[in-house]
C-alpha cells in the first residue's frame, strides 16, 4: 500500500477499480480470441453492470476519500449512474452499427469504458488535478472514438477538429485553474473556496472564473464555444455521438457544478452573470440553428446545444433547487437523447446512411416501434407532457422563477416553443410522409432493448417522476463544502 493511503481510500474507489479492471479484460479478450465481437460486447456490458452493482453500495454515502482528492457523495453517485447507463445504452446500440460499418469492436468498447472511467472521476473529484485528469481521460478516449470510422472522411475530419479545439480549450481551462492555484495556493476546492472568499472578487479571481468557464463551456458545447459540436456530432459514429451528447455533457456539468458550487461559492454573483448570458445565447443559437438543418445528426447536435442552455438555467439559479433542476434535467435528457440517437442508429443500413431527415420518411409503416419511440423522444425533447422532458423543464423554469430570473424563464419557454418547430418536422417525416427510402429496417434484440428502455423511461418518468425528483433532491443536498475524511464503514 502506498505511503499515506489507507484501505478506505481503495474501498471508496471500488467502482472505478472494477471499471478499470473490466476495461483491461475487454482489451485482453480482444487480443486473445477470434470472432470476438460478441465476447467483447458481453465483457463490456458485464463490466458496466458489475460496476453499477458495486456503485449501489455507495448510495447514501457522503464522505471524502483519497486524502481529499475525491468526494464520494450522493451527487457523484447519481452522476455515475447516469454515465454507466449512457455507456451501457451506447454499447448496446453499437453492436449492429459496427457490423454495418465494418469496424472491429474491441478497442471501441475499451475506449467507451475508459471514457466512462474519466467521467466518474469528473463527478467525484474535489481537487482540480483529479478533475483535470478525469476530464483528459474522457476527452482523449473521445478523440479516438470520434474518428473510429477510419475510411470515412467526415469521421476523420471530426476527430481532428475535436482534438485541436479540445486541446485549445483544455489549455484555457488549465490557465484558469493555475490562476485559482495562484490565488489560493491549493488545488483543493474547499481551500480554494476559503481563499477566494478572503480575496473577494478581485481582477485575478474574475479572470480565473472567466477562463475556467470558457474551458468548461467548450465541453458542454455552450455558445459561443459550440462550433465543434455540429461537425463532430455529424462525423462521429452515431452511437458515439449519443454518448458524447449525453455522457460527456453530463460529466462536464458535474465538474462545472463541483468547481463553481464547491470552489467558488463566494463569487456566485459574478459567475451567475456569465452563465446567464451563456444560457441565453446557448438556448437561442442552438434552437434557431437547428431549425435550418436537414441532417438529423446536425439537428440533434444543435438541439443538444440548446439543451445545455436549459441546464445552465439551473446553474444560474444558484440554489440547491437549481442544482436539483440541472440533475433532473440531465437524467431525463439521458433517456430521450440516447433514444433519439438510437433511432438514428437503427436507420443506418448497408444502402442508407440514415442521417438525413428524408431517410425518416414512412418510418411508421416500416417500424412502428421506432416511429412511436421517436415521436415520444421528440415530444420529450420539446418538453410536451406527459413525457419526461416536461418534468425536467418544470424544474428548470421553476428554479429560475423561484430566484426571480423571470426574463430567463421567458426566454427559456419561448425557446422550447421554437424547438418544437423542428422536432415536429421529424414527426411529419416519420408519420405523414409515405415514400420509403432504402431497404427494410431491421431492429435487432439489442436495439429493441435500447428503444424500449429509453421509451419507457421517457414516458414513465413523465407520468411518475417522483423517483428522479427524490434522488436529485437528495443528491443536490450533498453538493457543498466537503465532508470530513472518512474511515472504513
Amino acid at each position: 500500500m502506498p505511503a499515506g493511503f489507507t484501505a478506505a481510500d481503495f474501498y471508496y474507489i471500488l467502482p472505478e477499480i472494477v471499471l478499470t479492471a473490466g476495461a483491461l479484460v475487454v482489451l485482453l479478450v480482444d487480443l486473445l480470441f477470434k470472432d470476438r465481437d460478441d465476447l467483447t460486447l458481453t465483457a463490456t456490458l458485464g463490466t458496466l453492470l458489475v460496476t453499477g452493482v458495486v456503485l449501489f453500495s455507495f448510495v447514501g454515502v457522503d464522505t471524502t476519500a483519497s486524502r481529499g482528492l475525491l468526494a464520494i457523495d450522493g451527487f457523484a453517485t447519481l452522476f455515475k449512474f447516469i454515465f454507466l447507463f449512457a455507456a451501457a445504452v451506447t454499447v448496446l446500440m453499437s453492436s449492429s452499427y459496427l457490423k454495418v460499418e465494418g469496424v472491429p469492436a474491441g478497442e471501441y468498447y475499451f475506449l467507451i469504458v475508459c471514457a466512462t472511467l474519466g467521467m466518474m472521476f469528473m463527478a467525484s473529484g474535489v481537487d482540480l488535478i483529479t478533475l483535470f485528469i478525469g476530464l483528459e481521460t474522457m476527452a482523449v478516449s473521445f478523440y479516438i472514438l470520434v474518428g473510429f470510422l477510419k475510411p470515412n472522411q467526415r469521421s476523420n475530419e471530426a476527430s481532428v477538429k475535436y482534438y485541436l479545439l479540445g486541446a485549445f480549450s483544455t489549455g484555457i481551462l488549465l490557465y484558469g485553474m493555475s490562476l485559482l492555484y495562484a490565488v489560493s495556493g491549493s488545488t483543493n476546492l474547499g481551500e480554494i473556496a476559503a481563499a477566494v472568499g478572503a480575496e473577494g472578487s478581485s481582477g485575478l479571481v474574475i479572470l480565473a472564473v472567466i477562463l475556467v468557464t470558457a474551458g468548461m463551456a467548450f465541453k458542454i458545447a455552450a455558445v459561443p464555444f459550440h462550433m465543434w459540436a455540429p461537425d463532430v456530432y455529424e462525423g462521429a459514429p452515431t452511437p458515439i455521438t449519443a454518448f458524447l451528447s449525453v455522457g460527456s455533457k453530463a460529466a462536464a456539468f458535474a465538474m462545472l457544478l463541483r468547481v463553481f458550487v464547491e470552489g467558488l461559492p463566494t463569487v456566485v454573483a459574478d459567475w451567475q452573470v456569465f452563465f446567464w448570458w451563456l444560457a441565453v445565447l446557448t438556448m437561442t443559437v442552438g434552437n434557431v440553428a437547428a431549425i435550418t438543418q436537414s441532417n438529423i445528426k446536425r439537428m440533434l447536435a444543435y438541439s443538444s446545444i440548446a439543451h445545455s442552455g436549459y441546464v445552465l438555467i439551473g446553474v444560474v439559479a444558484g440554489t440547491s433547487r437549481g442544482w436539483t433542476a440541472a440533475m433532473v434535467y440531465l437524467v431525463v435528457y439521458a433517456f430521450m437523447q440516447l433514444g433519439a440517437f438510437a433511432v438514428v442508429t437503427a436507420l443506418r443500413r448497408r444502402d442508407v446512411v440514415g442521417d438525413e431527415l428524408k431517410d425518416l420518411s414512412g418510418l411508421y409503416s416500416q417500424s412502428p416501434l421506432a416511429a412511436v419511440a421517436m415521436l415520444v423522444f421528440m415530444l420529450s425533447l420539446g418538453g410536451i407532457p406527459p413525457t419526461a422532458g416536461f418534468m425536467g423543464k418544470i424544474w428548470i423554469f421553476g428554479a429560475a422563477i423561484d430566484q426571480g430570473f423571470v426574463s430567463l424563464a421567458i426566454i427559456g419557454v419561448v425557446n422550447s416553443a421554437i424547438s418544437l418547430f423542428y422536432y415536429i418536422r421529424v414527426v411529419v417525416f416519420m408519420w405523414i410522409k409515405d415514400e420509403v427510402v432504402g431497404s427494410e429496417i431491421t431492429i435487432g434484440p439489442a436495439m429493441a432493448t435500447v428503444l424500449c428502455v429509453t421509451l419507457v423511461g421517457s414516458i414513465v418518468f413523465g407520468i411518475y417522476p417522483q423517483p428522479i425528483f427524490e434522488q436529485a433532491l437528495a443528491a443536490a443536498s450533498t453538493l457543498g463544502p466537503a465532508a470530513s475524511v472518512a474511515a472504513l464503514p
Binding site: 410536451i384 407532457p385 423554469f397 421553476g398 419557454v413 416553443a417 415536429i424 408519420w431 411518475y464 425528483f469
Partner: protein, 532 residues
Amino acid sequence: MIMSEAEIPLLSLILFTPLVGVAILLFVNKHSEDTIRWIANAFAMLGFLVSVPLWFIYDTQNPGWQLVERHAWIPSIGAEYFLGIDGFSALLVLLTTMMGVIATLSSWTAITMRVKEFYVFLLTLQAGMIGAFVSLDFLLFFLFWEVMLVPMYFLIGIWGSDNRLYSAIKFFLYTLVGSVVMLLGILAVYFYSYQVTGVYTFDITQFHELNMPFDLQWWVFLAFFLGFAVKVPMFPFHTWLPDAHTDAPTAGSVILAAVLLKMGTYGFIRFSLPILPEATQHFVPMVVTLSIIGIVYGALVAMAQRDWKRLIAYSSVSHMGMVTLGLFALTPVGITGSIVQQLNHGISTGALFLLVGIVYERRHTREISEYGGLSKVMPVYAAVFLIMTMSSIGLPTLNGFIGEVLILQGIFVVNKVWAAFAATGIVLGAAYMLRLYQQTMFGEVTNPKNETLSDLSLREFCTFAPLLFLAVWIGLYPKPFLDRLETSVDHVMVRVNGDYTPRLAVLEDGQVAVDGDIRLDPLPGPVGGGAP
C-alpha cells in the same frame, strides 16, 4: 371551500374509459377496420354513459367541489392527483363526452385510411379534454391541457385536406407558445403560494384563496391570458383557427369547435378570474375591446367567405367574442350567460361542422357556390341545417337565444356601448348565416352534380339527434342548466367582487347557509362570513 369526497371514483372512470379504449385498440389488427370502428364507438358511447350520472349526482345545493378524488402524485413538488367538479365543469364534461360520441360516429365512413391511428388519437384527445376539465391540481391540469395538442395535431396533419401540414403546425405552435407562457404564470403562483403558506402545492382550491399582490397578479394575468386567449381564440390570436378548422377532418373540426375552444374560456373562469381578481378588473377594458373587435371582425370576415367551413370558423371567432365579452362584464348574469353560450356554441357550431362534413364527404368541395337548392334533394338535411342555423343566430325557443339574452343583459347593466356592439355582432351573424343558408339550400339545383346527393342516413341523423334535442331543451327550459351553474358563478363573483354575496355561503364550521332573498337585496353584508 368544502369538498365532498367521491364514494366511487366516478371522475377517474370517466377519464380513463377512453384510455382503456385506446389500450384495446392498440392490440387490434389494423386491417380489421370495422372491428376498430365498433370498438371506438363502443368506448366513446361507454364514456358518455359513465358520465351521465354527473347530471343527476351533482348537488346544486352544495357550493363546494364535488366528487373529489385526491391522491399523492409527485410529493417532491407537491403535485397531486386531485380531481373534482363544480356545476360548470360537470356540464363541460358532459358536453365533451357527448361530442366524443358524435365525432366518433360521424367518422365511420369519412375516415378510410389509417383507421386505427385515427381512433387512437381521437380517444386520447377525449381523455385529455376530460382531464383538463376535472383537474383541481394545476400541474395535472397543465398536463392534460398539453396532452390535447399532439392528437389534434395528427388529426389535422394526417387526415386533413389540402393545406393540412401548414394548418396543423400553425395550430400546434400557436397553442404551444400560449401554453408555455401560461406555465410560467402557474409557476409564479406556485412559488408565491409557497412563500405565503410554506407548503409546495398546485392545489387550485388553495390558489383560489390567495391574495397576491397586484404587481404579481398583473404579470400572471398576462401569462394566463396568452395561454387562454390563443385557445378561445380571441382577436388577434385567432389566425390559427380558420386554417385548423378548414383543413381538419370533420370529427376534428367538431371537437375543436365544440370542446377545445372552451378550454380557453374555462381557463378564464377557473383560473384567471378567481386567482387574479384585481388584475382581472384592471384588464377588463383590454379584454372587452379585444372581444368586441373579435365579434365584429369575425362576423365581417365570415360574410366575405366563399368556403363553407371557413365561414363557420370565422363565425366561431365572433361567437367566442360574445362569450368572453359576457364573461368580462363580471356580473353574475353575464358570466352565467357566457357559460350557457359556451354550451350553445358547442352544440350549434359542432352541428354546423358536422353538416359541412356531410356534404363534403359526398362532393369533396366546400365552395359555397358549388351548392344551391340542396333542400330539394336533401330535405331532412335542410331541416336540420335550418334549426342549427336558427340556433346559431339566436332565434327564440332555441338555445342560442337564452345565452345571448343573458349575455346582453349582463353587459347592459355595466356598459351600454358594449351591449350595442354585441348586438351588432348578432345582427351580422344573422346576415351571414341566412345568406349561407339561402345560397346552399334554396333555389333550383343549379349544379347537376348535386342532383343525386343522398339525404342523411340513419347514422348521420343519429349524430344530430342529441344536438337538436339539446338545442330545443335549453331554448325552452334552461333552468336545470342555470341551476347547475349558480354556485360556480357565485364562486367566481365572490372573488372578483368583494361586495358580492352568494346565495349559498359556506360558514366557518363548514356548514352551508342558504339565503334565497339575499340576492334581491345587495345591501347587507355576507351571511355567516361569506366564502372563506
